[in-house]
Assembly symmetry: C2
Homo-oligomer: 222 residues x 2
């Protein structure tokens, strides 16, 4: 019956693998040992993961899928939605910092894993970039690319602080993401209000034209 | 005597390799074929490059070294220096767009090369990040990380437009980098002047405190 609920099983295999990598080293841990420790067969392991390396990145695959699904929901403000997606990823790792730290220590020790971590992080950046361009037709791609890079980089910096052992409340990342929105003139604080029939709106000069259009359209009575 | 001037020889080997990769495919090109086409011995090839993959990234290695050397020179304005380093990398590829395009086409076709490109790009980002932190003591690391990511991402976007066949003047990147500096409130247009004994300076609220301190120190008479 375990085949009908693969998700918890995957999580257990990941936890068992990280424990083994941490205690005896990544290179000295075989798939057989992981399968045995997690109580799954070798063939189940290979069906769940492509290989040993994929166990280390299983969380990111799930989080990338979840981020994509989250962004696919309707959002009033695409810039805030990207920031919220970033917060959700942070909260996932912050929920079990000890597991995240053991994982991080393994990634840092193995050059191949370190490189794959960089490539994986870039996938979030590309996801955010593509989402912004799809949500804001006419947006200058440079603004999408830059904002996605800014959000991803501050996210990683704050997450790394947590992974290096610091106590990092989620509010630290929230503030950094608020800053990122202000740098693009898209912080909700600056929103036009739709309280009256007459809307007088001011926008920071640095706000992308496509975003000004979107906000005016949202604020104006139909 | 060729050993005393390895640099031009390396460039010739790179060009010969890119030509072969483009005409017969990366996977179907052997080190022997590259060495023969470039007129070097197999052992010279392996001394100059670690392997076949390294030929594709030889330019980036040189450019990373040059960027590091450029940033190590004295600069009045670290933020502008990072932007100038980015411009220099762009100009290198723009000087021979056809070679750069052939290289890019190969990288895009081979997943392993694509991943290594992402990792290589991240090395520029880290170089800029570390340079800013070293140059501006007390700078919030989040500002260094974010600015480095922003510069690197807009650079790559503009470079990719060039590599995809567009005519992209360097001024396009310059404008994007000016924008990046404005988003951090560090564009030279906003500089304090040191013409008189009394200095009255205004700074954008979003300028990092460490940068305000640096500018005040630079502007005040000793």
């Amino acid at each position: 019956m375990s085949d009908t609920s693969p998700a918890p099983s995957r999580t257990a295999v990941v936890a068992a693998a990280i424990d083994l990598f941490a205690s005896q080293g990544y290179d000295h841990t075989s798939v057989e040992q992981i399968a045995q420790a997690a109580g799954v067969s070798r063939s189940t392991f290979f069906r769940q993961f492509g290989g040993k390396e994929d166990v280390v990145f299983a969380d990111h695959e799930v989080l990338l899928d979840e981020s994509r699904a989250y962004l696919a929901q309707p959002h009033d403000d695409p810039w805030a939605a990207v920031c919220d997606a970033s917060m959700r990823v942070f909260r996932h790792f912050a929920a079990d910092p000890e597991l995240a730290r053991r994982r991080y220590a393994i990634v840092r020790q193995v050059p191949g894993l370190r490189d794959r971590e960089i490539v994986t992080v870039f996938r979030y950046e590309r996801l955010f970039d593509e989402y912004l361009r799809e949500s804001l037709l006419g947006l200058d791609p440079l603004d999408a690319v830059g904002f996605a890079a800014l959000v991803t980089s501050v996210h990683n910096h704050v997450l790394r602080r947590l992974l290096r052992g610091g106590r990092v409340p989620a509010a630290v990342l929230r503030r950094a993401l608020d800053d990122a929105m202000r740098r693009y003139g898209v912080h909700p604080d600056g929103d036009a209000s739709a309280d009256d029939d007459l809307v007088v709106a001011t926008f920071p000069r640095r706000m992308p034209a496509a975003e000004v259009t979107r906000r005016l359209r949202a604020a104006l009575p139909r």
